[in-house]
């Protein structure tokens, strides 16, 4: 892909993120606990992927500043919603490395709402189910 074309595609991703974000908040049946004004990136290894209703849960083992492993829970869209947009219960597997952008909890617990996840090869998994291939 040539450079100008790639810039156009990136622009489209940014737009769809904004549009998707506004809508997807509706799809979370309870989003009151997450801080809609904040984002945070956590990086780690998938411990477990609950492909369950009403929300998927990605349990991520993250190494903190003291070198200890902490487990974070990230709430995502439902399997029903994601299935229709190309995901499956195999999309995330234990051992997968991920950097996940979340809306953190208002009360500081180790959890958040999934905004997007990025794999080491550059593949991005958006909250609205879109999967962007590595470039």
């Amino acid at each position: 892909m040539n450079k100008p074309m790639r810039a156009v595609v990136k622009g489209m991703v940014a737009v769809s993120l904004v549009a998707g974000g506004a809508t997807v908040a509706l799809a979370h049946h309870s989003a009151a606990i997450f801080d809609a004004s904040q984002t945070r990136v956590i990086s780690g290894t998938v411990k477990k992927f609950d492909y369950s209703n009403p929300h998927t849960w990605v349990w991520l083992d993250v190494t903190n500043d003291q070198g200890q492993t902490e487990t974070w829970g990230v709430e995502g869209m439902s399997p029903n919603y994601l299935n229709r947009r190309g995901w499956s219960r195999q999309t995330l597997k234990p051992g997968d490395k991920l950097s996940v952008t979340i809306r953190p909890m208002k009360d500081g617990q180790k959890a958040g709402m999934w905004i997007s996840g990025k794999r080491p090869d550059g593949e991005v998994l958006l909250m609205n189910g879109e999967i962007k291939d590595k470039e």
């Binding site: 309870s30 209703n53 009403p54 487990t71 709430e75 909890m105 617990q109």
Partner: protein
């Protein structure tokens, strides 16, 4: 049993039978004939799986500013409440909780249940439109056989009847439990929700929703037009909200999350 008790018991049975006839079943169930099925085939074809496209739900429901205003001329931007219900609205606003019982997996009720980011499946049979709603595993039965609901028991989605006005199925629902249902004002047990179902083309279903309430509203409150797109290759899937629900709202209205035992959750 003494005679007067016997008469009393018999009259109770008679009155209950009469009540059941008025309120639920048609006077006499009539099995559909081939002609009934043929007549059905001449109606607009609602049967199939439909979903409000991404971004559509919010646009259709409005942002609390001017629901339903787009292209429809002047409409009330806010519900026009009677003085009694305006006073109630002030109390409810003061005590607004962080979240509602949907966080605990109770279905939101009509009309919110028709605005979810999940598909619905419409099934037309003689005398009935059935709506299978994926979100919260809900089913609506809309009777088009001429029966009337006078004073049904209150429920989440109400009791619904429908009649055709040209190419539009007009669905009227009454009998509502006091649950959030996405309505931002206090409503009474006399509330009626009217939904006008119409195809603007074979792939697009419009549902225009209006609330009337003789006790709470001084004029009808239009909620706008929800636009559904047909998905011919989709099916409605299982959705058991209680399966792994970690969100909750407590009795005081405080929202929270349960992060215990991540490895114990199903699947």
């Amino acid at each position: 049993m003494p005679l007067h008790r016997l008469i009393f018991a018999a009259s109770l049975i008679v009155s209950q039978v009469a009540f059941a006839q008025d309120n639920a079943a048609p006077k006499k169930y009539k099995a559909p004939t081939a002609a009934d099925w043929t007549a059905l085939g001449k109606l607009p074809d609602f049967t199939g799986v439909w979903e409000i496209p991404l971004g559509g739900a919010r646009a259709a429901a409005g942002r609390g500013g001017a629901p339903g205003r787009a292209g429809r001329g002047a409409m009330p931007a806010q519900p026009q409440l009677t003085p009694e219900y305006a006073a109630k609205a002030k109390e409810t606003t003061a005590a607004r909780a962080e979240d509602n019982q949907s966080a605990n997996c109770l279905p939101p009720g009509l009309p919110a249940i028709m605005g979810q980011p999940y598909p619905v499946e419409l099934l037309m049979t003689p005398g009935q439109l059935t709506i299978v709603i994926e979100a919260y595993t809900q089913v609506r039965h809309i009777y088009t056989d001429g029966r009337k609901f006078e004073d049904p028991d209150p429920s989440f989605n109400g009791s619904s009847t429908g009649h055709w006005e040209g190419d539009t199925l007009v669905v009227e629902s009454v009998g509502f439990e006091q649950v959030p249902r996405g309505i931002n004002f206090p409503y009474s047990e006399k509330m009626k929700i009217t939904e006008r179902f119409r195809l603007s083309d074979p792939e697009t279903l419009n549902i225009e929703t209006t609330i009337t309430d003789p006790l709470a509203l001084t004029q009808p409150y239009p909620l706008g037009n929800r636009v559904f797109k047909r998905h011919r290759s989709w099916t409605v899937a299982e959705y058991v909200c209680e399966e792994n629900n970690r969100n909750f709202v407590d009795a005081s209205g405080k929202a929270g999350i349960n992060l215990a035992n991540p490895t114990a959750s199903p699947k």
